[in-house]
């Protein structure tokens, strides 16, 4: 995905980075700088500043106090929520990676190229359907008297409670992340040099060993990136834990939602948001560092 960026062609008359850009160059370079400074960097920095503001009588006043930070970070409920969110997002990532792998493996190695293309196209479709509507659909399907329990009833099982449980939340997360993870895993594995696998098999590697010792090391970077994306999506989603998990244990996004929408406690929401961003960046950077580290297995 990111491959084509930044391979800039050395252009005539402007190949020298020190050269002063002319009006033409600036016309194309500046819009995004202004726009993103005002509407992307601005909001993020303001959110950081806001975490030090005070709220008095439901009104926010600009200040530089650590009261929101100390309030949030000393409360048990914040840390409960923090670790729960990390835990369930991790669980979601592990599930998605494991569930997706056999499918991606099949698509990458056993399917024809056109099947592969069609599969990827089909997997892109969910991105353009409303995630809310899909969640609502699960809500109906998984309910006590919903489709799943009705079918299980025919074979004499159930009814099971699936909504308002971690299972419900995970189903929601899978709805959100599984298509992306399958796509990323498939693309990564399809790019492996088939000769290497052939070579491993010829040298007497069993299929399982080939997967562990050849395919996974070779697709390490792509797999880690898929995992990072999956984690980011699960970590930041409020719909699945709210509607399918019943938000009995609120995740951080739900905490932000509640804090913002009720009582105008924006500064405290900002504290939660910043904690989330710091956590995400830490995890993403660690993951990327791992992904691009020269492993022992792969050269």
């Amino acid at each position: 995905m990111a491959a084509p960026f930044s391979q800039t062609r050395e252009s005539p008359m402007s190949s020298n980075p020190e050269q002063r850009p002319n009006l033409y160059a600036l016309t194309w370079r500046l819009p995004i700088i202004f726009w993103q400074l005002i509407f992307f960097v601005g909001p993020v920095l303001f959110m950081v500043a806001m975490s030090f503001f005070l709220v008095k009588n439901y009104r926010m006043t600009e200040a530089f106090e650590f009261v929101n930070w100390s309030r949030m970070l000393t409360r048990g409920f914040f840390w409960d929520s923090y670790w729960y969110t990390i835990g369930i997002a991790t669980l979601s990532t592990v599930c998605a990676m494991c569930i997706a792998f056999p499918a991606a493996f099949a698509l990458a190695f056993r399917a024809s190229e056109s099947t592969q293309r069609w599969a990827i196209f089909l997997l892109i479709i969910p991105f353009f359907t409303s995630y809310l509507v899909r969640t609502f659909s699960w809500f109906v399907i998984l309910s006590e008297s919903g489709v799943v329990n009705a079918m299980l009833g025919y074979v004499g099982l159930g009814p099971y409670t699936m909504l308002n449980t971690n299972f419900g939340t995970l189903v929601g997360y899978m709805t959100l992340t599984l298509p992306l993870v399958v796509i990323l895993q498939t693309v990564t594995m399809a790019n492996i040099d088939k000769n290497l696998i052939e070579a491993a098999r010829n040298l007497g590697c069993s299929p399982l060993r080939t997967i562990w010792q050849v395919i996974i090391p070779l697709s390490k970077t792509g797999l880690i990136i898929a995992a990072i994306f999956c984690f980011i999506l699960s970590f930041g989603d409020f719909v699945a834990p709210f509607y399918l998990g019943g938000s009995q244990e609120p995740t951080l996004p739900i905490l932000i939602l509640d804090t913002t929408k009720s009582g105008q406690q924006w500064p405290r929401a900002a504290v939660v948001a910043i904690m989330m961003m710091v956590t995400l960046f830490a995890i993403a950077f660690t993951g990327i560092a791992l992904a691009y580290r020269k492993g022992k297995g792969a050269k």
């Binding site: 050395e10 402007s14 353009f128």
Partner: protein, 266 residues
């Protein structure tokens, strides 16, 4: 790799299962939208269009649909413009701080929407721009510009690097060359980008919900309905939104495909 038939069949079934899981909510939502039951289960109730009738009779939903249309069209134009400028700058120039420059446009999608929503809400309130339709447009442009940039940058990669110089060589100034060479060359990607960003914007609910104030878009209406109770109207709206988005995506794909065919000949 040696093909073992049973294993292949199992793997094939597994793939089908995954697709079933991915498409189950979409398909059930469509089925439910034509089902008379308020709380659908198996066996299904009778065929009914009452939810559609209800949706169509609701002036709030009409207003939301109109808002969604305005937001997604405006977002598409702004995001595509920003994406084009950035893609071209990246293609043509090398300059200091290019890394941070590209990060500036590519970073927003990696930040959870709920955080972007909070940050946008706070900032736009601060500068007195919240609660309006244009607030959503601004926020969505930030979120979708990277997609526009990616689509157009990929197209520029397919361009013969001599093409631009050739136009200068024939007496075209940089501006004329932009108008007569770069833009026509990128036209398919520009359309792809317009449809793609419109589709993304049309479905986004978290940020819209936070910054929209009273000007709800369709997804926000869905969110509000879902919060209340079980109401199959959501399925009807969902089906409508799905069809709209898919039309946009298919259009984007068509432009993408046609440019690839042309690319092959070139």
């Amino acid at each position: 790799m040696k093909q073992s038939r049973t294993l292949n069949v199992i793997l094939g079934l597994y793939v089908v299962l995954i697709f079933a899981f991915v498409f189950a909510p979409i398909i059930f939502s469509m089925i439910f939208s034509f089902n008379s039951q308020r709380f659908p289960t198996i066996p299904l109730g009778e065929f009914s269009t009452e939810w559609y009738a209800k949706v169509l009779a609701d002036p709030d939903i009409w207003k939301a649909a109109r808002n969604s249309l305005i937001v997604s069209c405006s977002t598409a134009v702004i995001a595509t413009f920003l994406g084009f400028c950035t893609a071209y700058s990246d293609f043509r120039y090398n300059f200091r701080f290019k890394g941070p420059y590209l990060a500036l446009i590519l970073l927003p999608p990696t930040i959870p929407l709920i955080i972007m929503a909070l940050a946008m809400l706070a900032w736009l309130s601060k500068i007195g721009m919240s609660g309006q339709l244009y607030s959503i447009i601004i926020a969505h442009s930030v979120l979708t510009a990277p997609f526009a940039m990616a689509v157009i940058r990929l197209r520029l990669n397919q361009m013969d690097p001599d093409l631009e110089s050739a136009a200068w060589n024939l007496g075209g100034s940089e501006w004329q060359t932009m108008r007569h060479v770069i833009v026509p060359f990128c036209k398919p990607a520009i359309f792809s980008s317009l449809f793609l960003t419109a589709a993304v914007s049309f479905d986004e609910f978290a940020v819209s919900w936070f910054v929209s104030g009273l000007n709800s878009t369709l997804p926000v209406v869905v969110l509000e309905i879902v919060q209340g109770n079980i109401d199959p109207q959501v399925n009807a709206i969902g089906t409508f939104v799905f069809l709209t988005s898919m039309t946009l995506v298919v259009l984007a794909q068509l432009f993408f495909a046609s440019r690839q065919i042309k690319g092959m000949h070139a």
